[in-house]
Amino acid sequence: MSDDVLVTIDDLKVHFPIKRGIVLDRTVGYVYAVDGVSLTINRGETYGLVGESGCGKTTLGRALLRLVEPTDGRADFDGTDLSTLKGEELRTMRRRMQMVFQDPLSSLDPRQSVESLLVEGMRAHGLDKGKEQTHQRLKELLAAVGLPESALRRYPHEFSGGQRQRIGIARALAVEPDLIVADEPVSALDVSVQAQVVNLLEELQDELGLTYLVIAHDLAVVRHISDRIGVMYLGSMVEEADSDELYRQPLHPYTRALLSAIPVPDPVVEDSREQILLSGDLPSPADPPTGCRFHTRCPWRQETLCDTDRPQLREIGEGHRVACHYAEDILEGRLSPHEVEPELVQPDAVTS
């Protein structure tokens, strides 16, 4: 393994049991939240993970941080298999991986002042080395995220959404991590404030050499901030490429549809672009389709393979991986899209 690699995820699976019954608590099925995902993240790079609601992005991030136990597969951080770590070792390793959440207000304890929120993590990891030094560090942290020193004595609810997200980022930075997993870091913020946080994340990366895993459903934000992007669909990775390449030459039918579905704030572009409208809904991750998980909605679905064989992620072109049996034929224009009859999806299949 190369020295440049910080994170290696190999065939990772997280299946949540669906329990039924009050007394016996039988397991009646599984939610295949993450079902065999492999990826690597290099030191200092930003890896973007996109996909629609429920496709397993957050679960993948949480499994990497071992906030949820993977069902199968492995995740290595800086050359160490995380599943071999226990207790103190795991805690020490966790300091190096921090998470920034979507909703800053609900992830910050409202009864704690900003100072106490920031010091908490430092203390837990033995980074609180005396009053003077800690105060100096707090000042640096606030300066880094663009908040005034007076913020220390205030409480989360006294800040605007964007400022709260800055506090969340400062808290993650307080323990000097190598990797930050940012789960929808701007999606709860007003449009006019999102750019402030995006720029802040970029500046901090330049300054501190951080590695990011950015999880978001907003492909425009992810494309802006990421070096490489992985596209997930129903627990699987369907495509991975360099950020520009993915936009220029999406190979997977789902990625194509996703890109074409995003409205661009420019009427000239909007008037002329061709949309690939997908019919039907996302199937339930408790009952994923056989074969290619996208076949129920895929406009390029073929008679053979698509319904029966699960396509593996394979490399087509340098650093461009795609999980579609017919990627080459679609790319070369040998296959053309067709109408798809929407299949019904019952949302309750998972929960009731």
Binding site: D190, V191, N199, A220, P263, V264, E270, D348
Partner: protein, 331 residues
């Protein structure tokens, strides 16, 4: 005569022991038959309360509504609940962000639609049921006859939004108000719903008010766009003009700050500084002044008026003259 005329609409909330708060401050706009008009602006700028006021859905206690809203020349403000009910069924339809909370959870979808048809279009039982299935079919719900007997929780988010649109369309309204109809949906589902909405209104004389914070949605859908800030309209323009030549520093700033899917990587975003909590009161000057890169001294003491500007309307002492950076960079 415009289909809908909103004149000097203001909405003030009174809470016990608190200063009254002005949510909407003298806004005026027209909607012509068949036209799609956008209301955009960030959270709290007054988009939803504007639509609620038009629909007569604001709580009668605690909310004070001033000005005038006329539909085909008839004043809507001050109508009795019964008269409003009649109007809402017949002429005005509304689609909300969260379909689950606007559908009745214990009544089958079909019945929710046919009830409206029986009451407002005076259809018989059977006819209403057939028409309900036809409506579900029209909004793209597969196997509509079976869907009629299902409850809202049995439908996915996208299907619920379709069902809600079917209800809103049941009485062939002349005006449809959609308040963030796709914000809670995934992008591929959002694309379905937006294309459905535009299909439903284009080529008919049904007008649509589209409320959103997403400039991308506006760019593809609206004929005319009203940009709101702090309860006032700050800019109004035809969609092409607005994006090609945003005149208000807030509109301009928004366009420069959002990452575009089609922009090359590595280009820095230009954020708008501060947030709405920095706003000053419109009575003192321009609410946007504390965040505005083009502010002049007078912006802090002299509230700008909404005036005619290059075929649209503008509320600003120092309008922007150059094209937005995002658009320049992307081409």
């Amino acid at each position: 005569m415009a289909l809908l005329e909103v004149r000097d609409l203001s909405i003030t909330f009174h809470r016990k022991g608190e200063e009254p708060s002005v949510a909407v401050d003298n806004i005026s706009f027209n909607v012509e038959p068949g036209q799609t008009v956008g209301l955009v602006g960030e959270s709290g700028c007054g988009k939803s309360v504007t639509s609620l006021a038009i629909m007569g859905l604001l709580p009668s206690r605690g909310a004070k509504v001033g000005g005038s809203v006329t539909f085909e020349g008839e004043e809507l403000l001050g109508l009795s609940q019964r008269e409003l009910d009649e109007r809402r069924g017949r002429d005005l339809g509304m689609v909300f962000q969260d379909p689950l909370s606007s559908l009745n959870p214990v009544v089958p979808i079909g019945l929710q639609i046919s009830e409206v048809l029986e009451r407002h279009r005076k259809l018989g039982r059977k006819e209403a049921k057939a028409e309900a299935a036809e409506l579900l079919n029209r909004v793209g719900i597969p196997d509509p006859k079976r869907r009629l007997d299902e409850y809202p929780h049995q439908l996915s988010g996208g299907m619920r939004q379709r069902a809600l649109i079917a209800i809103a369309l049941a009485c062939r309204p002349r005006l449809l108000i959609a308040d963030e109809p796709t914000t809670a949906l995934d992008v591929t589902i959002q694309a379905q719903i937006l294309s459905l909405l535009s299909e439903l209104v284009s080529g008919t004389d049904t007008a649509l008010i589209m409320i959103t914070h997403d400039l991308g949605v506006v760019a593809g859908l609206c004929d005319e766009v009203n940009v709101m800030y702090g309860g006032r309209i700050v800019e109004r323009a035809q969609r092409h003009a607005l994006f090609a030549e945003p005149r208000h520093p807030y509109t301009h700033g928004l366009l420069a700050s959002i990452p575009r899917l089609d922009a090359p990587r590595g280009e820095k975003l230009v954020p708008i500084r501060g947030s709405v909590v920095d706003n000053i009161a419109w009575s003192r000057g321009c609410a946007f002044a504390p965040r505005c890169p083009s502010q002049l001294e007078e912006c802090w003491s002299d509230p700008p008026e909404l005036v005619d500007d290059r075929g649209g309307m503008l509320r600003c002492h120092n309008p922007v003259e150059v094209a937005p950076m995002a658009a320049e960079g992307a081409r």
